[in-house]
């Protein structure tokens, strides 16, 4: 029953889950859900650019997501209100991306795939990129873990320990951009931030330390991928939304068993 395409989809989803667990935890800890959202929505613009110029959608989405992160940092540094600005940028990026993609005839029929993911169409090359990129991000997080966690807890405590909070913030932004690019095939532009936030939120009430929350979030994300793909196969539901729906179910269960 494990056909080739299904196995690839499962491996792609699990590879992504391993990264979105820990990285999504940072998104939750730092309350930057909207920041992740604006990068993810910008990915649609990246897809349009990639298709128009005939380059890899991974390169296009990565470039646009990084540009978005830098734009946000620059505007915040100029004193803009973060929340409002992200509200503008996230929707602007999505709208402009959708307009841009309408000018690329080859992309129009695949639009739903880019918005909600098309994990069952993932090829071996995609799989290699997802696992390679995922390993890179995980390695980066593991290497800087103590510094990232300290800077997230309190920037002044971090500075007193010789840590540059701006550098750690930049590293998280770059990691986020890479994950957005990796996730576009699996869950699509609109559901990337759900893959980051929902498993981490589900793990929050069940964990006592940052490490346990990150690991638990990865496990919940992996279980969501498996459950979502199972539903997709047996109920013929769309794979990306099924994965996020499964994660939401875990979130609800997590709320019931929350620590005091």
């Amino acid at each position: 029953m494990l056909d080739d395409f299904f196995l690839r989809a499962l491996l792609a989803g699990l590879g992504l889950a391993a990264v979105t667990g820990p990285l999504g935890s940072f998104v939750v800890w730092r309350r930057i859900a909207y920041f992740g959202d604006s990068m993810a929505h910008a990915a649609i613009l990246g897809v349009a650019i990639s298709l128009a110029f005939g380059m890899s959608i991974y390169a296009g989405t990565l470039a646009v997501a990084i540009a978005m992160a830098l734009l946000v940092s620059a505007l915040v540094a100029r004193g803009q209100v973060m929340d409002t600005m992200l509200g503008v940028l996230a929707h602007a990026a999505l709208a402009i991306g959708l307009v841009a993609i309408s000018f690329v005839p080859s992309a129009r029929s695949d639009l739903a795939g880019f918005l909600f993911g098309d994990v069952l169409a993932v090829g071996w090359t995609d799989l290699a990129l997802i696992w390679g990129g995922g390993a890179l991000v995980l390695g980066l997080l593991a290497w800087r873990w103590q510094r990232l966690v300290t800077a997230t807890v309190n920037e002044e405590l971090a500075m007193a320990a010789g840590i540059d909070p701006r550098l750690e913030r930049l590293i998280l932004s770059l990691a986020l951009a890479v994950v957005v690019a990796l996730a576009i095939r699996v869950v699509g532009s609109l559901l990337i931030s759900a893959m980051l936030i929902v498993p981490a939120a589900a793990a929050r009430g069940l964990a006592a330390t940052p490490e346990r929350m990150a690991a638990l979030a990865a496990l919940i994300a992996a279980a969501s991928v498996a459950a979502g793909l199972w539903a997709s196969l047996h109920l013929d539901s769309p794979a990306g939304p099924s994965i996020v729906a499964a994660a939401t179910l875990f979130f609800i269960i997590g709320q019931v068993f929350r620590r005091g």
């Binding site: 939750v28 103590q146 300290t150 309190n154 002044e156 007193a160 006592a208 330390t209 346990r212 929350m213």
Partner: protein, 267 residues
Amino acid sequence: MRRMRRRGAGMSALIEARGLTIHRPGSAETVLRDVDFRIDPQEIVTVVGPNGSGKSSLVRALLGHMPLAAGHVARRPGLRIGYVPQRVQIDTAMPMTVRRFLSLPRRINDAEARTALERTGVHGIDRRQLAQLSGGQFQRVLLARALLHRPHLLVLDEPTQGLDQPGIVAFYQLIADLRRDTGAAVLMVSHDLLVVMRASDRVVCLNGHVCCEGTPEHVSTAPAYRALFGAEAQGALALYRHHHDHAHDDGCLADDGRGHAARTHHA
């Protein structure tokens, strides 16, 4: 005039700053102008001043967290500083036990953690979540973390914010005990005038510049200080009259020849 000799001793200072001028980040607005500051081993120095007087900016500049517009800061080579910043808040979005927090960013063993928590009077709370601690417990955990690496100097920015009066008194008693037991100097920023001044060897009154400095009793009688703090200063003065029946002759900035009254006019 013992104080004057110490100020002139030169090499022994933990931190010595000369002519510090600091601008608000991203603007040309001056927060602090031409401030001289030093702290010696085992000394408890408190910086007092109204809101926006540049107290926290001074601390950050001394720690090297803030660019200087002018002047320079010399920290003794190899100086280890334990720092408790102002208004640390642990976001409830992040699960964090007391024990895990003590291992940030350098991992420590359980014995080190236990010793530090015992020293600040909060042993046995290792497994509690930071977000569930009371304000007083949390300050003591921050203090325990600051003590972990045997600091020569503790820097505490408004450490008693949010504590009630008995909590404040107990906290300053703890600071005095820690200085006695560990030999660490203490630099505090505070606006608990009444209590903090009693716990200090030297008080620096700040309002964009150094208004006056000296022993607690001297500062509390200085016109510049009383002009800044008004009625509250009267209370502090009464407290000193009550607790000190002998005279102090330590000069207020007398050693560098600049009277506090003259400096106040520059403000």
